[in-house]
């Protein structure tokens, strides 16, 4: 391969990532404009409404734009699809690796986000290779309004909503016995079996609580020393424990991505010596596309619930 070809490949690779970074910085800067200009509150509200509607950093569209830009620089290289694919693998790895080292982003979040970056970006590459190689040599401009409409539609749907995830488990012990391990429980010895925990996502270890009364401080301790500070907000012995999360750790996997509001354990006596334990968590997800990241959030939260609830089950059923 000649030096000229390599130069074009690297230019495409750099340009695509620069476009991605430029989009992200532009969005961040735009959100700072009202504070810096000193807009009155109502104007600020309008401004944020407009910005969110029009140009929210879209995890779908920014990678596509990156892919199209890369394909533009690679247009004269007579690449096969396989070569486009390999070049895009390298190109799409640069952003997450850069975000990990430069912005201290969480590795698990980057791993979760990577498939979107990769697939959407490759869709952009496939579009770009056809747009810029077309024998008419005219860019199919219909893509631009399509991207704009998609951005607007995604922004329009971007209202943060509080969601809840619920899991239940049946325990072969009466509710009064289960309750002993609900308010707080000793440390878990068993290693987590969830694959994301094995590659670094913190897992719950133990819970401490000042006491079984409303207002009691509670701490949920995760591996890596992460601590969720909670306060008991509702308590009915042997039936219900609700706690508000007053402070969540400043972990890169959570910061700006997810806000946890509240947790709850409900015990239902099955009148046959067994108890159904229900775990609930309320959260707001700040990532988009919602359908994708919400699926992950539910999966991760469910595994946290089930790890804790399995531990409570083992302790309660111990003779």
């Amino acid at each position: 391969m000649t030096a000229r070809r390599w130069l074009r490949i690297i230019t495409g690779l750099v340009a695509a990532n620069l476009v991605g970074v430029a989009f992200c910085f532009a969005f961040v800067l735009l959100f700072q404009v009202p504070d810096q200009v000193g807009l009155p509150p109502q104007a600020q509200q309008w401004f944020y409404g407009f910005v969110v509607m029009a140009i929210w950093p879209s995890l779908t569209l920014v990678p596509m734009a990156m892919g199209i830009v890369a394909a533009y620089f690679w247009r004269n290289l007579s690449f096969s699809l396989w070569k486009y694919f390999l070049c895009w693998v390298v190109t799409s790895l640069i952003s997450p690796v850069g975000a990990y080292f430069a912005f201290k982003e969480g590795a698990v979040c980057l791993l979760i986000g990577f498939p979107i970056l990769f697939v959407c970006g490759f869709a952009g590459v496939l579009l770009g290779r056809l747009l810029f190689k077309s024998k008419t040599a005219a860019m199919n401009l219909s893509v631009i309004p399509m991207l704009l409409i998609a951005t607007l539609a995604e922004g329009k749907m971007r209202q943060d909503q509080r969601r809840v995830v619920e899991d239940r488990i049946r325990i072969n012990a009466p509710a009064t016995q289960v309750w002993n391990y609900v308010v707080s429980f000793p440390a878990m010895d068993a290693a987590p079996n969830y694959w994301l925990n094995k590659i670094g996502l913190p897992s719950p270890l133990a819970t401490t609580c000042q006491g079984a009364f409303v207002g009691a401080a509670r701490e949920c301790i995760f591996s890596d020393g992460l601590v969720f500070k909670e306060r008991v907000s509702e308590i009915t012995p042997a039936r219900l424990l609700t706690f508000d999360i007053v402070e969540q750790p400043s972990d890169p996997e959570l910061l700006g991505h997810l806000t946890l509001h509240r947790g709850q354990f409900q015990l239902i006596d099955n009148n046959d010596g067994t108890t159904t334990l229900i775990g609930r968590s309320w959260y707001t997800l700040h990532m988009r596309p919602l359908w994708y990241f919400d699926w992950w959030t539910r999966d991760v939260t469910s595994h946290v619930h089930l790890r804790v609830m399995e531990h409570i089950k083992a302790l309660s059923e111990r003779k």
Partner: protein, 147 residues
């Protein structure tokens, strides 16, 4: 199977901008990684038909690569190797009866046919069908109301 389900049950999603292209990119990646002979056949077919000066490749609105002469579509190739061509109703009946092609995967009664590219051995048949579609268009009878 997933393609069949999406095309039959979730066809309305194709109206959402960019979504068909994303879906097709997923198909291309899957084909590229898990079915190399099919993927090779897709590339060979694309190169074979685009040697003709009159044929232009463009992104297809339902995803994949569209093959056009001017503004007229001859056919399109999905990311899983499914080639859709417009050959008119009479040719369609003939090709389907002879087992050379399948009725279109969404509109079986239309003048469209479908052909699965599975390996490079299918290129000759695919190119021949493409020629029929191209000739049909050139004869001025091209009146597809389906796509």
């Amino acid at each position: 199977m997933m393609f069949k389900f999406v095309v039959k049950k979730l066809r309305w999603l194709a109206r959402i901008p960019v979504l068909p292209q994303l879906f097709d990119a997923g198909l291309v990646i899957a084909t590229m990684l898990f079915d190399r002979p099919r993927f090779r056949a897709m590339e060979m077919f694309e190169n074979a038909v685009c040697r003709k000066d009159t044929i232009q490749r463009r992104p297809h609105r339902f995803g994949g690569v569209g093959f056009f002469v001017g503004r007229t579509e001859i056919g399109h190739l999905h990311g899983n190797g499914l080639l859709d061509l417009f050959v008119g109703k009479s040719f369609r009946a003939d090709q389907v009866r002879r087992g050379r092609a399948l009725p279109h995967h969404v509109f079986p009664e239309s003048g469209w046919i479908s052909f699965w590219l599975k390996s490079p051995a299918d290129i000759a048949d695919a190119v021949e069908l493409f020629e029929i579609a191209n000739m049909y268009r050139a004869s001025g009878q091209f009146t597809s109301r389906v796509h």
